[in-house]
Symmetry: D3
Subunit: 325 residues, 6 copies
């Protein structure tokens, strides 16, 4: 393969049917991060759910999402964006993880994304449970300009501890990221929050930091277009991360997840909100908590990976804009 | 266990993860009705589907609903109600039933609920098919002040007979209850009615009694908030029962049911309607027709039991109000 | 059975429970097309998916749709139509097909529908993949008065070729029908189009022919009632065909299909649009792409066959009107 | 259809693929019992599970077994029997039942089989729960020559009462049949009995009547060939019924059943035993307790209906022998 | 409940159907370990899979096994043992665990079993992944008389480390137990070992310690009766533990497990081996690696819990023997 | 990747857990056939089921088999073979196919395998339906020395035509191969044949050619070891192909297949037979008819791919032997 030039495009469906072939993200070429020179956007998986306090299974998310991703195509029918024309895209494989040790995994994941980040590649990630966003942020954030975040979720994930001791679970990443100064709470919006809580206090910490919480009831009152506008307002022009937990959507759209909460938004509404974020200064994004053992049909993975495709279009447009300078 | 005082609260998720432990409703302590002194709200199952003329399986509803109920928490994120702070709650086990004899079962269920009612406990029930509401009503209704009802369903359940002879099926409970004088048709509202009928006459009897039928088309025109307001108006200040058949919701939210009808409301809309019923003089409630063999995933049970949680909040608030006097 | 007169009505649920008995469409009598004298509306299956370029399985659609169809009843609760009172209906069995040869199958299916058409029977068809609509149209269309079509789908199905050579796939029927002069593109409306495309060109051909394409975004802006009105306007008073691909609906309503695209309309909205088409000069209709291997639960088949029931009501009313002259 | 002569043979797979078409048993013509003149062997369903004390669902057995039966063919590869050459076979539809009343159902089923029996048709039946064998025996047995039975099952089904009162459940048919004098316990063999019992007494009654019980441990010691020989010895030359409860097989072969007991025989062994019964004076047979809600895959129905095919071969050979006189 | 005496017996199926009621192990009364005075055999769950390096899910094992356990009865049809007549049995609930920390969990589990052991209760445990056997052994083993073990499994679970660092995974418990001096390798037999290995060395350590490894090929050559005899010989008269990993059985009997290996023994053969262990000096037992997310049907849990019932009979007999002195 | 030397070995489970990473066969490196210099054994998929006359789905086989293949390891616990030490192995991706045209596909597949064959690579293939074996044989057979074959299957696949016309279906490959002179019928053994036939004639053609047919009954009489010996005898020392249709196994081991026939051999027995073929002059092999839509659990794919692993060990040993000269 020595002297061939990599073609950073999906395998054509006219060469091999879309259901066929080795499943890489979007049918893109597979490159190890170390070999990823020339890549603008790197899609990668973090096959890990060791931070899950309830029903595990998100460790299997990246593989099923790769499988379903081969159903996607090349041209966005609404925005008209053809991402693979605008940016070099590749599947950078899965991050190393340790299924039975949290701290070790946090280090391995951070290292994986640091490699990617240092090559100037925008990371688009398939989880894994939500704790994985923490080491990704550690790898790509600049403390001088902490990240803003558009966060789609049923839960705030700003809890403090679990079982008395544990600082790191899939319910704590954003508390930790704010404490570490890599996430700016005033530039964070959380969309779709709902479900019973342990106590009224569970809401307090995040609000006190200045996070803009859009509970699902407010969401339904405003609708996706106004919420997207609000999100743009909250994160402003600074470096911004999109973190999309599939449980923000209603469980009928995303049954394969560990902590379902009835009464969320639809896939169409989620698409509409993502499209409304066009133009943000994106520095990374993830779609997390797809748990295949709870949805053998792959519907959740298809929903998740189609959201990744929506985000990919935004990223590619931004890449092209940056290239144009 | 002799001298320990029962703590009428869910097992804490910080002691045992929510997916773990023996599954009681909401992780509450289990008491037999005879031992249920001090209980304000008793959650109980009726594991029976002998009145089902089509696809059976609701006999397995209570167990799967107990399983999924352990995902619920303690504080309602919209109303701010903490039901376990306001009322003593317990799982009173399942009612005795006879899987192969209807009349015998009607007696056994009525006796079970009479015991509960006579201890001053509000019953919140997981079915079972819809016929179970009849013996519950027989146990708790006062003919001097017949019950009103907010009835969520795709079907009116006011048919007369089946196969020529049978008075008691899951399609007849409310005809029987009205005939017996324990349900006041003028204080009954039915929400979500739809689907093909055998003849135009199927609609007539209920309307002639004065039931307020909100077919799904009217529902979609009005929306959940106005329908909830209408329900409050119909039932007024008298003793009221909520009967929630999960097939009132669209089958995507409740696939595990015996007689699905496409085109219903969503879980979020159902939640919104229940929340709109705050303040009613509730004397009991049930969620019925969850049929696990038709939904191994448990999604229907999760939806059903989250509706139970919403109703529990209303009940607990009413208990606290009554205690305050 | 020599001298008995066929009763063109469903077996009564009071004689045999609806879940029981041999599964024919709507529990109607089964007649071979050659014996179908006196039939006004013939329901028939095309158990074939040889035109499927992605995930196959629609060959199993008719059987599962027959199974679920026995849940339907006799009287339409909104329109008040009792189709079996207005028209003689029967299940005409499945069309002959050749699972491994496309052209041979196109011939066999066309012959089957020609027999039906020549007896003056309106065909209501359960697919099968979408290519089957082409031979149906060939059998029933009059080139002097080409067909109009209300087309529900996520895809336009007006692609040209596949793998360089193949003219006939489930992505090409309407390009072929227009080329053959049996479908009038100016009287075609496509509702729910969405999803990624290979290139921007994929959209062009149909629009250039004059097809009115309602992409899902426009659909959501207009809502089902206005879209139905628009459809009536587009097809006008000429002979019209309804082709309903279940993937026009959101995958949560129709998971059992080969090429799901997230973000579609609901079953209720689909019902509402069909009801809005009352009065069209219907000459045939189909519901296609139900793929049972991808939905063992039968939910997709139930949705599909309930849409068939909605269309059957329109057809029966039209039959009665024609009979009245 | 007036003057056509019915062809009592399966629809050819060369005309319509085996997965296609309306599903009748073995793709045979469908005739109502009243119209079944000329039929030698009538295959019929009893879609009822009202006698089930545990997990219901066998009411759906006949339909799924019809579906899977279309995979069978015409020639037995071991015995060389071509049943459709030897006997006129037809699908006689489902017996009337009342899903919510046992006694009424017992009457309806007996009447159905009496009609069949009086036309000289051998009944081959798909259940339904095991209680259905009782009314079948009532319809076909001659008290002067009570039936012998080869009974495949994990349970003896000779319990007495249930919940104190109920004489008729799927655990009691053979106690009742023996009491009624239509089944001769000395000519009964039960094969595969196993699983925990309530008390040691559960075994006693049957043994005291003279039933030959082959517990699964003895079965594995003897092997299928010797057990078949033993069965022939026990039932001798008198009129004999085969009742095959699919739970006699190991649950891996028959997961879709209401009361699975681990550790049974395989389908191959069951086939071998049935083949070993060649030559018995068969007067009827059934395969019961296939419960589709517990096996959506249809594997249990396929196993059950292949056993029906094996029995059909024996019956057809016997019919031919009787015809030859 | 103050002055009632606990009845250490299953709820009768004649009072509440076996599918109904709150699911405790074998329908036994639920007692916290601290309240378990008078109990001879305590059944308990360890809902934890944090040691799983491949597909997780065994954390959900105990709950599904409780559910399926309610299908068991009271009298063993082969041995004639009625365990509940011989020993006081109870469900002692689930052990505390920490889903995200291994060492903390090892401590919590050991404490739970120490409480049980110190009350003189024999523990019968439902896992959980196989690492849980280590803290159970720590709690009940006497280093002066280390444990023997009959170990059913496809894997030896005597690996050393994982990912370089981790001493504790579900592949290492018996290496650790031997190192800690609580398990005597010369009194250990492993039955059913098979499947690819990383290197030939994987086999060496255990053999060098003196473990008697019966690979599946040897198993099939010897058959279950001889293997059981061999096991009795290996463990002799000393204190012995039975550890039953369901993946020792063929995956068709136990699909719901994390590391399936094709080609194992059947449930019947497993039953036969357990029955062949009658008379051992049992001090505890477990059935592990039932992973419900990989078998929603519950078949694996039913197999697992029926094995628990088989072991329970052995334990109860031993308890009775000890009581008799 | 220019100057790196490919390591033809699986990714280590100590670097990335076995459930993680892009799924290639056995976690081997992926190379296009054109780049496959140095490869000894090439594993490749043929994602096509266009020859399927019954239930399709085998087109999805290669992808699911890749997924499950990552559970295999490196060392064979019985034979002691470490295939990756003996031969350079790689995943050569999927063959081009045309899902809707048979002849075109036959050409594309033949070309794919011709490329592989001409590089001296032994092909090990995952189907696809059984017709794919024909173009593979066309690519690798030498008419001067036609192939022998050990054929595991429930069906002989030597039918002639289908629907009158079609020469090429998954029921005809070996009739065609024999006619074409590339398969020597006298060196063919078929193991596990069973199930109903259309007529007695179906058996004749193959027997007349001299094929050694081992029907399942003979198989059970002989056992796997003797059948393997018989197979070695039949194929002798000439070039030999192994074709393993998973439906030769009992459907409990391989439910995910299009034409299941109850009563086959087990996975263990299949493994045993394959191991008994050690030393044959293997020139290629395939495992076909894994149909994931009929087995979402992946159990069939796991069985199929473990059989591939068994065959791979034989091939690698043969490669090493040839290398040694």
């Amino acid at each position: 393969m020595s002297d061939k030039k990599t073609n950073f495009k999906p395998v054509s469906g006219a060469v091999l049917p879309r259901y066929a072939g080795i499943a890489t993200f979007m049918r893109l070429p597979h490159l190890a991060p170390d070999d990823a020179d020339g890549v603008d956007i790197g899609i990668t998986g973090v096959p890990w759910d060791g931070g899950t306090t309830n029903r595990a299974g998100a460790r299997h998310g990246p593989r099923q999402m790769r499988d379903m991703s081969t159903l996607t195509r090349n041209y966005h029918h609404v925005s008209g964006i053809s991402p693979y024309e605008l940016a070099n895209c590749a599947d950078l494989g899965d991050s190393p993880v340790n299924p039975i040790q949290i701290e070790d995994t946090l280090d391995r994941v951070e290292t994986h994304f640091r490699t990617i980040h240092e090559k100037g590649i925008l990371p688009l990630t398939a989880g894994g449970d939500h704790l994985i966003t923490l080491p990704i942020m550690r790898a790509i954030a600049d403390k001088a300009r902490p990240l803003g975040m558009v966060h789609f979720d049923a839960h705030t994930d700003t809890w403090d501890r679990y079982f008395g001791e544990s600082k790191y679970t899939h319910g704590t990443p954003f508390r930790r990221a704010i404490e570490e100064g890599i996430l700016d709470p005033k530039r964070v919006i959380q969309i779709g929050i709902r479900g019973g809580l342990y106590t009224a206090d569970d809401k307090e910490w995040g609000l006190a930091q200045g996070i803009r919480v859009v509970e699902i009831e407010e969401y339904f009152d405003l609708g996706p277009d106004k919420v997207a506008a609000l999100a743009r307002e909250v994160v402003g022009g600074g470096p911004t991360y999109i973190s999309f937990d599939v449980d923000g959507m209603d469980p009928v759209y995303a049954p394969g997840t560990g902590t379902p909460e009835i009464g969320g938004y639809s896939t169409h509404e989620a698409q509409r909100m993502i499209r409304g974020l066009r133009g943000l200064d994106l520095v990374g994004a993830d779609v997390v908590e797809v748990s295949p053992p709870f949805d053998a049909s792959g519907a959740t993975a298809l929903a998740g990976v189609t959201i990744m495709w929506e985000i990919l279009c935004l990223m590619a447009e931004k890449v092209a804009e940056r290239k144009r300078g």
